[in-house]
């Protein structure tokens, strides 16, 4: 995308995660900052900080005294008095702080353990096969637009119990929330209202006709013997929809992007299916899509930096995963990396709720792809584009199929 902001001069004191240099290849930027800072600052977005080492990222993730999750997407606007106050926030529990956060999380966790996730596996596998079948007989197509993008959206739409034909609608919402963070605030708010309207209609429909899905689960859920207020349900549904789609799309796309350029890894993975367990974790480490954010909760000194209440802090788990102090040869993708404490799903209380679901989707998406197309390459490396903002993955990924199986 074309940034609406002026170009960045020095990322150490003027960083911007929508800058084209960051969007195209953030790793050298983080490596440089790790040497020079390792906490960068920017006056953009009304003031923001960026720690880039694994140690500092962990420290922030575990610190609920000095940082709040009330908003986790850096934009021109901070949460105001008209928003749901802490500790609930706009999209509980991602926007909630402890101790309230723990109550909401405990309510949701049973729906995201390996067991219910495994129940979605057959649907996911059929879906992957169906998407691949649609590419039959074509020597080249876009692996992001025609494959990766559709998998998580249709899985979460199924789990929420929304009509499958609404899948397309969601991608617009997600772009708005995650990528178009530099749009004028008025336009953002107008479009957020559309998301709320859609969710309200779904809630009404599920109230009238309860069924066995995540939306009905939320309508029945109680915290402290009380049903959840409608804003809470809407916020959590929006969160599950948004958090479940862009992120996994990015992980699938980035893994295919890597495989398209590494014939050795491709053939190894196709011929040694047992390697998938470590390979999947390695893709998640090296190409972790999600950077989170916090707001500074009170003035304090963070390793010599004067953090002020209300400052943004970008929490780049992908940068933590490339820290040489935490990982041997961090920029090298090793499919059999056995020791891999990566933080792709975050650290601490806010660990990604859907990590089991994401792993299942990524594994099946790669298994099915390699079963059908064990050999492929980028059609034009320069034609690959990456999403801007806090979720990073390929959005255009033209590939050429080199061999066919079956």
């Amino acid at each position: 995308m074309i940034s609406r902001h002026p170009p960045v001069g020095d990322f150490a004191d003027d960083f911007d995660h929508t800058d084209p240099a960051w969007v195209n290849d953030p790793y050298p930027i983080w490596a440089d900052l790790r040497q020079r800072c390792p906490v960068a600052h920017s006056e953009r977005y009304g003031g923001a900080w960026l720690p880039v080492t694994h140690d500092l990222v962990s420290e922030v993730a575990y610190d609920h005294e000095h940082f709040t999750s009330r908003s986790v997407v850096v934009s021109e606007r901070r949460p105001g008095p008209e928003d749901l106050p802490a500790p609930i926030g706009l999209a509980p529990p991602i926007s909630s702080d402890p101790p309230y956060h723990g109550l909401v999380r405990r309510m949701l966790l049973p729906a995201f353990t390996p067991k219910p996730t495994a129940a979605l596996e057959p649907f996911t596998r059929d879906l992957c096969r169906e998407l691949l079948k649609a590419t039959d007989g074509r020597g080249a197509f876009d692996a992001s637009l025609e494959y990766a993008q559709h998998i998580p959206v249709r899985v979460i739409v199924k789990y929420l119990g929304f009509p499958q034909e609404d899948a397309d609608l969601f991608r617009g919402f997600i772009r708005l929330v995650l990528e178009e963070v530099d749009l004028p605030q008025e336009e953002r708010e107008e479009r957020f209202a559309e998301v709320d309207e859609y969710m309200d209609a779904q809630i009404e429909d599920h109230r009238a006709r309860p069924r066995d899905d995540l939306t009905s689960f939320l309508l029945e859920a109680e915290i402290g013997g009380q049903k959840l207020p409608v804003e809470h349900i809407r916020g959590t549904m929006t969160l599950l929809m948004i958090a479940g789609i862009d992120t996994t799309w990015s992980a699938i796309g980035a893994s295919l992007w890597h495989l398209a350029q590494h014939p050795g890894d491709r053939s190894r993975l196709a011929s040694e299916p047992a390697l998938m367990d470590t390979a999947l974790e390695e893709f998640l480490r090296a190409y972790a899509p999600v950077t989170m954010a916090r707001l500074v909760a009170k003035d304090f000194d963070f390793h010599g930096h004067p953090f002020k209440e209300g400052d943004w802090l970008l929490l780049p788990f992908p940068a933590a995963n490339r820290d040489p102090a935490a990982f041997e040869n961090p920029d090298l993708v090793q499919l059999d990396r056995a020791r891999n404490r990566h933080a792709a799903f975050g650290l601490g209380r806010h660990r990604c709720l859907g990590s089991n679901l994401a792993r299942m989707e990524l594994r099946i998406a790669l298994e099915e792809w390699l079963a059908r197309y064990p050999d492929f390459e980028l059609s034009d490396p320069a034609a690959v584009t990456w999403s801007a903002g806090q979720v990073r993955g390929p959005r255009r990924l033209p590939v050429t199929i080199l061999g066919r199986s079956g």
């Binding site: 966790l109 049973p110 353990t113 660990r351």
Partner: protein
């Protein structure tokens, strides 16, 4: 004569349910309804599973798993 045995333990205050330990060594760990992990039984690592226990430790993002050597006096000699 002594022989070394090992015990794994998941710190419930640190575990956040990443499920990495369960994934790499499913015989040593079990998950509760919330997806949080704990060691199976008393956490004693059966012979032949030590490398899997080490793998679990090396893959826990929260550093929640400990592996300690328990040195036991052997049974009275033959």
């Amino acid at each position: 004569m002594t022989h070394a045995t090992f015990r794994v333990h998941v710190d419930p205050d640190k575990c956040q349910g990443h499920n990495r330990c369960y994934s790499v060594s499913p015989d040593l760990f079990e998950l509760d309804d919330l997806g949080m992990s704990s060691e199976v039984g008393g956490g004693l690592v059966p012979a032949g599973q030590l490398s899997l226990a080490r793998l679990a430790v090396a893959n826990c993002p929260e550093l929640a798993i400990s592996l300690t050597e328990v040195t036991q006096a052997a049974e009275a000699t033959q």
